[in-house]
Structures are given as structure tokens and as C-alpha cells.
């Protein structure tokens, strides 16, 4: 139900592994890779299983290859709305009598449509609007009588689900469960039902919840406002243009039918990948998946996003005026995660902007003392499509974003001329491995990585196989990508301007 991105950055994964084999001597990732088993159902849904029998628990990760980048004008935020609606139950979960309930739900949609039609007239009849509104509220109450409040959550939590949740990003919608491992079949039953027989009940109230979520994350947060406007300016055409949460006016207007259509288009089995990591057996999980998930009819893989971000014609700048101290974003367009330049860009971001000995921290925080935080990340806001490498500075008291920008530019120019040192490259490679080891310990993060790699990088094996690309990164590569992408005409500057 949360709208947030995963904490870890799966795009780093490959680099981590490079060094692992270096650092670990004989130990190789071929061993782990061989333990991963996959199964594709006749309807196109893919399962990835990694058995781990230490603790009797299991993590499930359903990766729907659809996110806010699949949305168009008028329905921004709908991927995230659908994520919320997936917790509202099915034809049998969350209802006392679906047959009766479904009639009332249709009636409700009908009155809602009439109300909207009247409201959108040049001269709406206010009495009629009020009458329809009262009628709408009446029917909404009637519909509520059929609902078993949060039954899906209740059932999962009651079975010990310690992580029932979901996340929507620009690229994907991901559903998470952690259960005691003897609940494997229960999960199969509950989850297949969710995709087979969803019912989008309590829709209008949930839209209200999501509007509160937007106020919470964007409208009351100066940095949230900046992020939204920054993306809107950096991406003029590609749908990374809009925030995952969507525009308020769209949230106020999206209908239940829009959600049903969107579900039909994007939630077919060919667009779903499931990773299961924990104390289960693949040869039990696969037949169960056949039994439960094969009930979902197959459909075509949805058409890819058409719009591409065109070449930028000049530097762009956006400001948000807020009751806040200054804040600075500098973003440069870079290619997607599958690009051959991705590893070198990761190395660049890491060396420039992560850790106390990174170049930005050294220059802005330690030496010039103009910032308390200065960092850099790539893969923003997603990495399935061409995205941004972003430099962020939080200026120190009494210092300005202009000073921070100048210092960041100084560091960028240095890399364009001299590149990074061998020592820095080694540091990047080792820290990336170490980070991966940390992630691999967790069933949940492992499941997330396998699903991500399978969908975005083109195969779960890429987690292991891209090692070679990372091993090959040279200082010359980093210099080349810096010169290719970190140019002024390719960048957007975003700033919070303090309001008195």
C-alpha cells in the first residue's frame, strides 16, 4: 500500500558480483545461480524459485511489469490506484454477497457518472448535482453493507504475514508477502484469486485515501514538490514526466471502469513474474502454481511505451518557492539499465557521490563546508527507460545552492579531464560486492533482485552474468561517459528557493 521505491538499487547487483569472485577466492556465484529454478506457465506467467531451508519462512515477490510510465494524460496515478485496489478483495474475499454487491457497485458507478456529467456542463444545475451527490452517498452506504472490511489483509496477517505490502514505481508494481513456509499453497490460492477475480470495491473512498497520500508525500513537502516539478521539466515527453502518485485532478476523476480497463490491459499473466525465496521446494511450488495460476486466461503482452524522450535542446531550470531552506538537484539524461554505458555510469555515481571519501563529500562537505549532504545517484526515477543521473546538495546554514552547484561542476569537470583513479575504481567494485552480499542474505531482497533482473535486465541470470561487463570497467570508460552525458545542454537544474 505504500507508494515508495525499493531501498536497494538492483542495478548495482551485477557489479557486486564481479568482485565477489575476486574477494572470495574459490567461491563462485555459479553455485547460487544453479540453485535458481524457473518455470513458465502455459499462460505466460513466470516463476523463479530459490530454495533456502535455514528458517521456516518464505518471501514472495510478484512483479507486475507496469508502472506510472505506462500511464497517459487523464489517468496519471492509476497504476498506484490499482495497487491499492488489489487489497480490496475478490468475488469471494471481502464480500458478504458478491452477486448482490456487484449490482449496487454498478448502480454507484452509474450515479457517479451522472453527477460528473452534470458538473461538467457549462451551467450545471446545482440542485441536480446536490441531489445526485446525496443519492451517491446513499448507495455508497448500501454497498458498504456488503463489504467485509479489509478481509484480504485480515486473512494474510492472521496467517502470520509479516510483510503484506506493495510498492508502485515508475517502472513496476510489486506485491510482497512473507509467510511461515507451511503457507505456500495458501499463498498460491490467495494470490491467484487476486489476479483472477479482483473486485474494485470501496473505490471512491480509496481514492480519497490516495489524495491524502499525495498531500502527505508531495503537497506538504517542499522536497516532494521539487521532485515533482523537476521530473516534469527534465522529461518533456516521456511519461517519467509525472510522479507515481499522479496529478490531483486525475485522482479526482479516475473512474472504477478506468481501473478495470487498466487491469485488463496490464495484469495479464504474460506481464507477471513471481519470485519465491525461502523454505519451499521448487518441485512443490511449480505444480501448485500450475494448479492455481493457470486458471488465469492468457492474453497478449501489452504494447510497450511508445513515447521516447527526445534530445534536449538546452539547459532547463525549475524552481519551487517554499517555506524551507535551499535544496538542489542537478540531473543529466542517461540511457536505460540495459545500455552498455550503465556500469560505467554506476561507477561514476558511486565514486563521485557515495560515502565519506567520495569526491562530492570531500569537496562540498569536508573542505568547502558549504553543504551537509552532497551525493549522486543514477537510475532516477527508474531505469527501465532512459533516465537521469542526479546530483543532490543540501547546503549548510548560510550557504547557497549556487555555491554547491559550482563545486559540483568543478568535480564533474575534473572527471571529464582526468577521470577517476584506479584506487577509486577498486573501492567502487569492492563496496558494490559488499552491498550485494548484504542484500543476498535477505530472502525478501533476493526475491526482489531476481524478479527485477528477469524483467528489466532480460533474465534473472543477468544478476550473475553481467559480472563480466563490470569487471571490464576502466577509468577511460568513466571519463568517456562523463564527457558524453554530463554536458550542460543535457541537464535540468531544480532548486527550492526559500520563501520568507
Amino acid at each position: 500500500m505504500l507508494r515508495k521505491k525499493l531501498f536497494f538499487r538492483p542495478a548495482f547487483v551485477p557489479a557486486l558480483l564481479v568482485l565477489l569472485s575476486l574477494a572470495l577466492g574459490g567461491q563462485s556465484f555459479e553455485g547460487i545461480k544453479k540453485q535458481v529454478k524457473t518455470h513458465v506457465l502455459p499462460n505466460g506467467m513466470k516463476l523463479i524459485v530459490l530454495e533456502r531451508h535455514d528458517v521456516p519462512v518464505v518471501s514472495f515477490h510478484v512483479y507486475a511489469d507496469v508502472g506510472s510510465a505506462n500511464e497517459s494524460y487523464g489517468i496519471t496515478g492509476i497504476s498506484h490506484i490499482l495497487e491499492h485496489m488489489a487489497f480490496k478483495g475478490t468475488t469471494t474475499v471481502g464480500t458478504k454477497d458478491f452477486a448482490a454487491e456487484s449490482k449496487v457497485l454498478e448502480e454507484l458507478d452509474d450515479v457517479y457518472a451522472q453527477m460528473k456529467r452534470e458538473e461538467s456542463k457549462a451551467a450545471p444545475d446545482q440542485a441536480k448535482v446536490a441531489e445526485l451527490k446525496a443519492k451517491f452517498q446513499d448507495i455508497e452506504k448500501k454497498a458498504k453493507d456488503y463489504v467485509v472490511n479489509n478481509e484480504y489483509f485480515d486473512m494474510m496477517m492472521r496467517q502470520g504475514d509479516a510483510g503484506v505490502n506493495a510498492y508502485t514505481s515508475s517502472d513496476a508494481t510489486q506485491y510482497i508477502n512473507y509467510l511461515p513456509s507451511n503457507r505456500l499453497e495458501f499463498w498460491m490460492a490467495m494470490t491467484s484469486d487476486r489476479f483472477l477475480n479482483p473486485v474494485f470495491r470501496e473505490f471512491y473512498k480509496e481514492r480519497d485515501v490516495i489524495m491524502e497520500e499525495r498531500r502527505l508525500g508531495v503537497e506538504t513537502q517542499p522536497t516532494g514538490k521539487l521532485m515533482e516539478d523537476f521530473m516534469a521539466v527534465a522529461f518533456k515527453a516521456h511519461p517519467y514526466h509525472h510522479e507515481v502518485i499522479g496529478h490531483m485532478s486525475d485522482l479526482q476523476s479516475i473512474r472504477r471502469q478506468d481501473v478495470a480497463d487498466y487491469f485488463k490491459k496490464f495484469y495479464g499473466p504474460s506481464n507477471l513474474t513471481v519470485a519465491v525465496v525461502g523454505d519451499v521446494k521448487a518441485d512443490e511450488a511449480f505444480p501448485l502454481a500450475d494448479l492455481y495460476f493457470s486458471r488465469i486466461p492468457s492474453g497478449p503482452k501489452p504494447e510497450p511505451v511508445r513515447t521516447k524522450e527526445p534530445e534536449q535542446w538546452g539547459e532547463r531550470r525549475v524552481t519551487v518557492s517554499a517555506k524551507s531552506q535551499p535544496f538542489l538537484f542537478l540531473g543529466y539524461h542517461i540511457p536505460d539499465a540495459k545500455s552498455k554505458d550503465s556500469p560505467a555510469l554506476e561507477a561514476l555515481a558511486n565514486i563521485v557521490g557515495r560515502g565519506r571519501s567520495s569526491r562530492l563529500y570531500q569537496n562540498l562537505v569536508k573542505d568547502k563546508k558549504i553543504a551537509i549532504q552532497a551525493s549522486c545517484m543514477s537510475g532516477f526515477p527508474g531505469d527501465k527507460f532512459p533516465n537521469l543521473i542526479v546530483f543532490i546538495a543540501v547546503s549548510a546554514q548560510g550557504k547557497t545552492s549556487a555555491e554547491c552547484q559550482a563545486a559540483i561542476e568543478e568535480e564533474i569537470e575534473k572527471i571529464k579531464k582526468e577521470s577517476v583513479t584506479e584506487e577509486e575504481l577498486t573501492k567502487f567494485k569492492r563496496s558494490t560486492i559488499k552491498g550485494l552480499l548484504g542484500q543476498m542474505k535477505s530472502n525478501t531482497q533476493m526475491a526482489a533482485m531476481l524478479a527485477y533482473a528477469d524483467v528489466v535486465l532480460g533474465g534473472y541470470e543477468k544478476v550473475f552474468d553481467q559480472i563480466a561487463d563490470y569487471r571490464a570497467i576502466t577509468a577511460e570508460d568513466v571519463k568517456r561517459v562523463a564527457n558524453q552525458y554530463l554536458v550542460k545542454t543535457n541537464r535540468t537544474i531544480g532548486e527550492i528557493i526559500p520563501e520568507k
Binding site: V55, N149, M157, T220, G355, Q397, G438
Partner: protein
Amino acid sequence: MRKRKTIKTSIAGLCLLAFITGAAYAQKAPKDKFVFGPLNPIKMPKVERAELPNGIKLFLVEDPEYPTIDLWAMVKAGSVFEPADKTGLASLTGSVLRTGGTQSKTGDQIDKELETLAATVETGIGQTAGNIRVSVLKEDLDKALAILADILTNPAFREDKLNLAKIQQKTMISRRNDDIGSITDREFSGLMYGKDSPYARQTEYATIDAITRQDLVDFYGAYFHPNNTYMAVWGDFKSGDMIAKLKAALGPWKKGKPSTLPWPKVNYEFRSTVNYVEKPDVNQSNIMLGHIGGLMNNPDLPALNIMNQILSFERMFKRIRTDEGLAYSVWGDYGASYIYPGVFSCGAQTKSQSTVYAIDIMLQELKKITEQEVSDEELEKAKDGYLNSYVFNFESKSQIVNRLMSLAYFGYPLDFTEKQKAGVEKVTKADVLRVARKYIQPGKVQILVVGKKEDFDKPLSSLGQVNVIDIAIPAPKK
């Protein structure tokens, strides 16, 4: 002991009540009722305990799966022991201990050395404990331990890094009103403990300016002794070897005066108040209401945990979020802490126009939980959820060893988690009502609203006399 439970799922299909463990692949039809076979046993890792000659209390767990080693130590110290006019001293001591370097190396040299190894050695001092964290690839353990020992025995607290840390602290003060959520947390904490209490007081420009390098040296010297230290270590090692390595590396860290830690008392007077912080640039109110909470060693804690689950999810979430669509995040929780009373709070963020309406509902729900027993179903769901997810307390070796170390640090019995479970198994509806009545006082809550009053549905004065809290930041001295 594991209970077998039947649950209603009513997913279309056959109703099989087969006992499934392993024979699932023979199954021909989806089920809509489940009886769960026994869960594979939780293999408890062996936690080795030892005490080094200099008094460090060790908790070790071998975890050979990945070639890394991690360490977390808690040192008897805390910001609650710093003088009020030097608020921020503990935090500065904890960070400059690491960044200020040692007699032989600057902090910057240590940064570079560690990052080249992909290792971390970090120190800090929080409210009720000092912390040391080390994370390293197995092969680099000796190097990381040598750095840690150097930091603990020869800290230099270099002036330039103190000044840098002061800039960071002052910048944080200057930015503390930028985020409505942190304003709410901070001011609510002030209402609960008193704004000058060691549990709630804030750093100010003046308190940061008052701190000298000598203060850091003295604060460190007063508390950071091996015999004040509890240390958990987990990863790819043999316990015997690890003890020997730690003994050799940290041996030069000499014993000092044991901390007695007289935790400051909390004197809470139950009262109803209405408090308001003006935030004219928002369209959503941040609401918290409640009163003081309790300690984790309370024998009623299992019943309180069940009550919390019912109050937060069954009542607040289902009504305020699901039925009313008033908020994204909403809760009701009787907080309990290790050594000083936690806070009982309910909260939500709702559009300005539904502020008082949402508060009214929260108050109604508080009243209700202290007046009527919860339903059988609510109780069963909450208990099943707790007991079925209990296995996640043992999901990783790090989690297990860290929990034991924290329990020991705060003087709690090491079987605390197991006892909580036994307690939860026995909780009844009468218990839930009894603890709700005993610990929650719906008539005496303090309400805090941060938002824009012009847009509220009703004036806050409809809830009581309004106390306006001024959050203006006292200006730095020129």
C-alpha cells in the same frame, strides 16, 4: 507447540481438507480451505557468550553463509546524561570520535582506508546508548579491528572535525521546521516529557556553541570503557577464534569507572490539552494525541500488544482510513520502552477540512476500547497474527544476537521474547479491556495539531482551550 487452524477462504473450487505436507503435487484441484501441516522447526543458532578480561560482554553467532563479519556494540552512555546547556554534546562526541581520527591517523585517512576495504567502522551516541558498528569482508577483519581499537584507545577529537560537526548540527537546527512530520514528532515529544526534559529537549545554536573539544574528551572519558560495553558479533568465523582476535585487538582498551546510569525520571501529569502549531503553507493537518506510555517490563505488555493491534488496525485503520477515507497513515499505539516510559499516541494526517472530524473519531475509538470488550473475532485475529508471525523473530542470526545483546544491555531477561509469546497465548478479551482501562485515559489526552487553522472544519477551540506553540528558531548569536 503449533496450533492447527482452519481458515475461511471460500475461493471458488473444491473444499478439500487434506493434510498437505509434500504431497501437494499430487493434488488435482484448487482448495478453498486450509489446514496447515507442522512448520519446519526453527533451528536456533548457538549464541556464544563470553567476557573479555577488560570487561566487554560478548555475544557471538557463527554464520558461515556469506564471507562477511558484522559487529554492533552498545556502550553505557546517552544524551540524557549531557548537561542541558550543552544539548548536542553526546551526539557530537559520538560522531567526532570517528571523524576526528586518532593520534596517528586523521579521520579522513581512516575514511579512505575503510572505504578502500569496503568496510565500515562507525560510532555514535543516542539517547540511551553509545553505539559502535563494524561491517567488513571476512578477509579484512584484522585491519578493521585495528582501526576500531585505535579509535577507542587513542581518539584525537580533532578540532576541525568538531567544527564541521557543529556546522552540520546548526544546519539541522536551521532546517528543522521544513518538514511538517518532524515538527509534529518533536513537539509531541515535548508535550509528553516536557520540552526541557532530557528525553525531549532540542539542540539550539547556543547549546552547540557552548560545547568545547574538552567537553567531548570528558564525555567520552566518563562513559566509553570496555566494562561498560556489550558487543554482538556475527558472521563467517569460529567463535573461539573471534574471542581470541577481539581479546588481542581490544585488549589495550583499559577498564574504567563503570557507568551507573541513573536514568532521569519522567514525571508526567495526566491532563487534557489542545495544542496548535501554525503551518500556513500546508493543505493537510498532522495530528497526534495521547499521553505517557509505559515500560517493556510491564507484566501487562502481552495484553497491551494485542490491544495495540486491535486499536491500530481493527479500529483506527479500518474506520479512519478504509471507511472514511480520511488518511493514508493512521495509528493508535501504547508505546513501551526499555528504561523510560514510552508514549501512548494516536495519529493521522488528514486534509485541513477534516481535522476536527478525524480527531473526534479517534477520541470515540479510544473511549470505545476502554468501555467495551473487543469481539471474539478481533481477539482471535490479533493473537493468531502475533503467534503465526512469531517465527519472523528468528529470521536471521543477526536479529537474534542483536536482540539478546540489547536485552542484556537494558537489564532484561534474555528469554523476554519467548515469555511475551507465552503471555500472548493467554490473553483474553477481559485482559484487553482491563489493560485498556488501566493504561488509556481517553478523557485526559493531549492533542497536537500542526496545520493551517483557517481551513479547518471546526475551530480547535471546540475541543478545548487552545495553546499555540511557537516554533520560531531562536536566532544564533552574532
